[in-house]
Amino acid sequence: MYKKAQATATAYLFLAPFLISTLVFFFYAFARALYYSFTDFNLFNTPHLIGLRPYVDVLADPSFRRALANTLIFSISVTILQTIGSLLMAVALNNRIRGQAFFRSAWYMPSITSSVVITLIFLWLFQRRGVANYLITQFQTYLPIILSFLGILVAAQIIQVLYERSRRLPAGWFDPALAAVSALIAAGLTALLSVLGVVGARAVQPFDFQYFSDSWLSIGGVQVLSMPLLVVIIMNTFTTIPTLMLFFLAGLQNIPGALYEAADIDGATPYQKLRNVTVPMLRPVTFFVVTVSLIGTMQMFDQVAVIGSAAPQNTLITLAYYVYANTFKSGAAPVNMAAAAAIILALIILLMVFIQRRFFVTAEAQ
């Protein structure tokens, strides 16, 4: 009996640092936020309970509604993109290829680089005079040459395949050896044409698109996705794929090789193996990845904060940023509204994870 009590005490002792920090920085903070969300607190006054008014104010605030829409769009699109991307990348890196260690580390780099640094690099890439616009301008300039190369390539390939088949040899449309020959022919002919002056670079206006501006993709007059948010979506997908890839990679190692051997014997194509063996076997990992990704993206803050006033606030504001911006102002601040928004954010995340658990996870994952 005594021994058991001692063991329990020891366990709590070891757990204490974690428990104390959770109590103080999570439960206490959460309770305070919940309390403030029903008061008129502005950092400097004595809070008085005013019921649901802060929630009504927050829901009536257009910048909150924009933040909510931006957050949901961001979260869902990034989660889909990075789950698919990281699964494909994990499958690719799970193959026994030369230099596998190098590729695994190289692919992981974006994840260990600070998100602030990556954001600054992306800000620079997507400047009005940045690399993205430069590459598009270059593409437009050399479009005739690129098109003639591609045209000749396709034509040469078709002719070769038809010729091989006329000799009753089994030639596929994407045969790599024939494609290499076609590419050589296309490169040679394009070079000849450009020397003769038939095709050449065009003079085009520099592509002059401002990515961090108030431009939107609208559906039926409703602003859905802003250009700056699209840039952040690309950036976030790029930086988080590697981390999620690690989970999938670990999951892949646990799939018995016998299943793939059986599939090989049945004559399954790589796509069929992915669809019918890998994806179902990875279901528990996928649940974990989607949950982590949803929670992470719903709380997205750092990129928005770093881009700051470089983009119009409406185009980028997220719920986490809304909470921050309404708490840390100069002087008196609507902290009650910020607290209400934080509680709403927490409820949405809870709801999303609950729905996912209810409909997505199969018996073997639980």
Binding site: L43, F44, D61, S63, R129, Q210, S330, A332
Partner: protein
């Protein structure tokens, strides 16, 4: 036993001595301010306060000054004396943490427009430390090459526009007349010149007011035919950077451009003119960018804090600040100062900045009770029109609707 009692007595005496020593903590910007204020404290404050047993320390706030000051004030840890930027004055007044200075400090020696900037409902909340206004800084070489007369103090909106258009015509594609930052801080003074008020009697902002619309159209209209250029188009982040490239005739900036040009374009020959007058009213407008010294209403040593504040805004301190070329001080008496009679472009610029504070419709660069969010709808509209994404009418309509929702909160 006796010895213990004696040493205890000695200890308590030392402690009492230490208690008598009052420490006044000052909060201000980081960057180069700690060096400057530290110098002022050592030269002027400490010698005068030595007999009063008051010591003074400067604690700079890193990062976003307003956020840090707000946190410190809310937690009760802010300094006894601190910088109070005019643009966030109203949001701080709402906290009841700023001590009204009426009766504590005399405001008469300071420029009237500066005192007005820090006054709300008859209470003065801060004394201007120093200030800046806007001027036209122009590249003499470009105007000479284009054979166009320099901008001068008699220019109106129209005559300046003609000069800029001629400059652009003469110099061609690689050169621009003026650098236009999409910022209310660079455009608003045109609206003031036209008689526009930031807030009506109910505290609302009207961006559809013809006086504002005309100024907005003038400012954004300067971008027509590439006479005006945004800093971002020249890979710069402000119009001072534009001017330093040598490709732009005019920048609308304050005295801070002098030090920048000295470091970044030492060979650029520049001159300064006052902001042009509105054709309609014949008056010019201007902003007062200023930071004041304020006292924490929670301070336990308000009398000592007021003493420190009085020394920091005293005539000898301001004379020193001006002569060091650090800033334009806020005392009326300094206008006859010998420094302003110098002919080098930096001193000339200082003079124009000083004159700008009392010529025409001059208002503080302040945002009202909504704080810095107030400026965003206008800046968004300016950026959209200057980059050709929206018409001025559409952009202003959107800005007004955003402003209404902001001010309804």
């Amino acid at each position: 036993m006796k010895r213990t009692a004696l040493s205890l007595l000695a200890l308590s005496l030392i402690a009492a001595g230490a208690q008598a020593q009052t420490t006044i903590k000052i909060n201000g910007y980081a960057g180069q301010d700690p060096a400057i204020v530290g110098d002022l404290i050592n030269r002027f404050v400490k010698p005068q306060l030595a007999k009063d047993n008051i010591s003074v320390v400067y604690e700079p706030l890193q990062g976003d000054y307003n956020q840090s000051l707000t946190t410190l004030l809310a937690a009760g840890n802010a300094g006894d004396v601190f910088y109070l930027p005019a643009e966030t004055l109203d949001t701080y007044v709402a906290t009841n943490k700023i001590q009204p200075l009426n009766g504590l400090v005399s405001t008469t020696p300071f420029l009237k427009s500066l005192n007005t900037t820090f006054t709300r409902n008859g209470k003065v909340y801060a004394i201007a430390k120093d200030f800046n206004t806007l001027t036209l800084v122009y590249n003499k070489d470009l105007f000479d090459e284009a054979k166009v007369a320099y901008p001068n103090n008699n220019d109106t909106w129209t005559s300046l526009q003609t000069k800029l258009t001629n400059l652009k015509k003469a110099l061609g594609n690689d050169y621009y007349g003026i650098c236009l930052a999409p910022d209310f801080a660079r455009m608003g003074q045109f609206a003031f010149a036209n008689g526009w008020n930031q807030f009506d009697s109910k505290g609302k902002t009207n961006l559809q007011d013809p006086a504002f619309v005309a100024a907005f159209n003038y400012f954004t209209g300067l971008a027509k035919n590439k006479v005006g250029v945004q800093p971002s188009e020249l890979s710069q982040d402000w119009s001072g950077g534009c001017l330093a490239t040598g490709k732009v005739g005019v920048a609308i900036e304050g005295n801070w451009i002098v030090g920048f040009l000295k470091d970044n374009a030492p060979n650029l020959k520049y001159g300064t003119a006052l902001i042009p007058k509105a054709d309609k009213t014949g008056k010019r407008g201007n902003f007062l960018y200023t930071v004041g010294w304020a006292i924490n209403s929670d301070s336990k040593n308000k009398a000592a804090a007021a003493k420190v504040l009085n020394i920091l805004t005293s005539a000898p301190v301001q004379q020193y600040v001006l002569e060091q070329g650090l800033a334009i001080p806020s005392r009326t008496a300094l206008q006859s100062n010998a420094y302003f009679k110098k002919t080098d472009p930096g001193a000339q610029n200082s003079l124009a900045v000083f004159q700008g504070a009392s010529d025409g419709t001059v208002k503080g660069y302040t945002f009202g009770p909504q704080g810095p969010d107030w400026i965003k709808p206008i800046n968004t509209a300016l950026a959209a029109v200057l980059s050709g994404q929206k018409s001025a009418a559409d952009a202003l309509k959107q800005a007004q609707s955003d402003m209404n929702t902001l001010q309804k909160r």
